[in-house]
Amino acid sequence: MKPLAPERHLLRAKDLMDARYAEPLDVATIARAARLSPAHFSREFRREFGETPHQYLLTRRLERAAELLRNTDRSVAEVCLMVGLRSVGSFTTSFGRVYGMTPTAYRAAHPPAALRARVPTCVLLAHARPPSQQVSRRQAAARGLP
């Protein structure tokens, strides 16, 4: 079998960031996926993909955070942790640089997640049914009964 192209190892590192952005990844871990030393890895990654691994991972996390802000009602602090970032302060700063507003404002600019959630029909059927006592009372009232 032919030896792999060196870029293939770099792609592995990129895929690792896409798959494991929620974990606290450090450069050493990511570089290992590419089988390179951290310093060499960052240089090669930038040469092949046009941005540093740090930039790639941060923008991936911000993209995921934006999605969670739009589609869930988890708090900003929770969203920050869910995408692998630990400081809410620097999350808010980076988010603002990219999206031009705070995470809270970004969420407010989109329709509430609850309106767009695709809750399975079986769940709706189970939870949306009114309590039968309400129907009985109304029927009773309609018939002029107490």
């Binding site: 079998m1 032919k2 792999l4 192209a5 870029e7 293939r8 770099l10 798959a19």
Partner: protein, 138 residues
């Protein structure tokens, strides 16, 4: 009027490795595997999803001269390795189960099964770096 899609060209890094992956790992079947000596050893290798008779993937080596000059061939090989040479989209009747099976076989996933508005989907790579996605309609 074009009537049917029959083959999709997938550039691969190594045809033996690709054959093994697409058949043994993903469970596809071989449709053609023919090597033509008078064409510089060109190997026409196609595989397909057994339940879909009409369409096959042509798993092809990136050719050098006379098809591509060395520089072009090397650029294409680099793009494949960087995951920038396109992708394949499949339907699955069980994305979660397939994910678990393939993960166990060592397949590199870039995206675990995720609920999307259009269904459950997941993404992985073939050994060459080509992106493959599978989707399960709701």
């Amino acid at each position: 009027m074009l009537t049917q899609l029959t083959h999709v060209n997938v550039w691969v890094h190594d045809q033996d490795e690709a054959l093994e992956f697409y058949t043994k790992t993903l469970g596809m079947e071989v449709r053609d595997d023919v090597t033509i000596p008078e064409m510089g050893g060109f190997r026409w290798l196609t595989v397909a999803v057994p339940s879909q008779p009409g369409v096959a993937l042509a798993l092809l080596n990136v050719p050098g001269p006379p098809v591509f000059d060395e520089e072009t061939a090397s650029q294409v090989r680099s793009l494949v390795a960087k995951g920038a040479a396109g992708g394949l989209f499949f339907l699955s009747d069980d994305v979660q189960g397939t994910y678990e099976e393939l993960k166990q076989k060592g397949v590199e996933f870039s995206q675990e099964p995720t609920q999307q508005p259009y269904g459950l989907d997941a993404g992985f790579r073939d050994p060459s770096g080509n992106q493959i996605r599978m989707m399960q309609q709701p």
